[in-house]
Amino acid sequence: MLELLQGPMLVSILAAMVRIATPLLFSAMGELVTQRAGIWNISVEGTMLLGAVVAYVVASTTGSPWLALLVAILACALISLIMSFVTIVLKAEQFVAGLALNLLASGLTLFWFQNYVIGREPPKFAGFEQVDIPYLSDIPVLGPVLFSQRLLTYVSFLLPVLVWFFLYRTRYGLEIRCVGENPKALDVKGLGVGRRQCLAIMFGSLMSGFGGAFLMLGYSDRFVPDLIAGRGWLVVVAIIAGNWMPFRIVGAIFIFALLEAVGIHAQVVGVAIPHHFFLVLPYVASLILLAGLRSRTHQPVGLGVPYSRE
């Protein structure tokens, strides 16, 4: 156990935390905007998977991870139109629509995988590599944690600030929040509720896809059908645990990531605690946290309630 507290391990734990958190951050920030616009879109898991699949296909055919990322997020933006149609036009139950999309995504992925991937020579593809920022990455302790990551990791750290700025400091963010709290307040001013919700869903979906594509391109050397392995659900949990506030969500994600990183390290250095204990820790911790910190909820009042005029 003591070994974990020594310098190099500590640095490694932090670096692992950053790595684990990055894809989650992308998806969470997207989903946050969607939920702040009142749409309870739980299809993050499926959308991440879709992003990963598309990224894999494009990266292995074109060889360009950047193009792959672009196409993946565009595909996810496109697929979000289904969610928009079902929830905004038909005003159907959002929770179920999300569930259906998840099923569809995992089914289609498996279907595609079994039809087109298995039994063929696995394609080579280029992903995102770790970049050591000159000089900075040599700083002791902080260097490897902060400056020896993938380029997009820096974007993921900027993202919560941008999303916060968008939501709280721009006119459009104010409107999005207004839609989530009381869509009628915007409607009576003659501004379209559906259009904003549609855009918010699209942004959320696009960012979820970003997270999935990044997981694929940044961390994996091949595609497997359950690549996402529950991370999409973790994102939804983090949003609730972060009480719908950007920086608290970042906090929640970091706590999850830290606990996972500690768990891995503890196993590697051979701490004599069943590793299940570390696996379960994030969930127990956030449950206790939620029960303990009973602050005023910031859940958007209109979350999950379809809006119609009459």
Binding site: S12, Q114, K124, D221, D226, A229, A261, H265
Partner: protein, 311 residues
């Protein structure tokens, strides 16, 4: 004379992208070519099925009466147990750890890779600079533990003071998690990592040497994978076909009660070629490994088998 017909129905445990399953098909293809003219081997396989779905599939194949062998490529003895008495002329095969010995018309295959993994351990021991070697596993199980223990034993046989890092990701296919474990082992000093689960990206990134498991994966990361512990089902198939022919000739099925596996000498396991690493590895080490491989095959050296859960 007309070649004898042998039809096999295979219930798969995983998709064919997983080495455990794809190697079986490869070996079948080789056997088919080898026996062409005498026995006409053909097979059909499902996509992954477990539990009562698998039982239903087995029953479906058995009831059709077309198949001589029903092969559950994993933990399927529970299912076989419900069928084997009903279909006494069908040969049932199960593979790997976690099965029950039923005997009779159930044959139980095992894959023990401790011999090849001992060799990889020696290679690791000879090449590590830090004196720390790692291994990322999926789950602890009987037929994994032997491999892990042999790997570390092999390393210690050439460098006794070696330290090891070991962790299980608790999943079959969480790729990203596997990478994270590898990263951590590398951070904890390991500079040679045996990946029982696939993802060689961390090894490539940190420019360290890796080993792959089950199939020769060099192609997916030629700059990182020095060699792989590989398996081959040809001896298993040959044995089973012999048993099947005996049954045809009127001898009762006599399935094994004890786990049965084919050693390196019998061609059941081996290590893959070094590919790009052929030029990078010191000749002395390569020679040492080749010599040891010969000794294992000839029986001059017996790799100790230890299935206790490694720590």
């Amino acid at each position: 004379a007309e070649p004898q017909k042998l039809k096999i129905a295979i219930i798969m445990e995983s998709n064919l992208d997983v080495g455990w399953s794809s190697t079986l098909i490869e070996s079948l293809n080789k056997i088919k070519a080898q026996l062409a003219g005498t026995i006409d081997v053909s097979w059909e396989h499902t996509d992954p099925m477990w539990g009562d779905d698998a039982e239903n599939a087995m029953r479906f194949y058995a009831e059709s009466g077309e198949y001589d062998i029903i092969w559950g490529h994993g933990r399927y003895s529970d299912q076989v147990k419900k069928l084997n008495a009903e279909f006494p002329d069908t040969m049932f095969v199960v593979a790997g750890s976690g099965n029950l010995p039923l005997g009779g018309n159930q044959y139980w295959l095992y894959k023990r890779q401790y011999e090849s993994s001992y060799l990889l351990g020696m290679l690791a021991g000879r090449t590590t600079k830090t004196g720390v070697i790692g291994l990322v596993g999926t789950f602890a199980a009987d037929d994994v533990n032997d491999e892990i223990n042999a790997y570390f034993d092999g390393a210690r046989s050439v460098r006794p003071e070696i330290m090891h890092r070991l962790s299980f990701i608790g999943s079959w296919s969480d790729n990203a998690l596997a990478a994270e474990h590898a990263n951590v082992q590398i951070a904890a000093g390991a500079d040679v990592v045996f990946m029982l689960t696939d993802n060689f990206k961390p090894c490539q990134e940190h420019k360290i040497m890796c080993f792959a498991n089950i199939t020769d994966q060099s192609k997916s990361a030629p700059d990182a994978i020095a060699s792989s512990a590989i398996i081959d089902w040809q001896p298993d198939l040959t044995w089973l076909i012999e048993e099947w022919q005996k049954h045809k000739a009127g001898v009762a099925f006599n399935g094994n009660i004890e786990p049965k596996w084919f050693s390196m000498a019998q061609g059941g396991v081996d290590i893959a070629p070094f590919h790009e690493f052929d030029t990078k590895l010191p000749d002395a080490v390569k020679l040492e490994l080749a010599t040891m491989r010969q000794k294992i095959i000839s029986g001059e050296f017996v790799v100790p088998m230890n299935t206790a859960e490694p720590k």
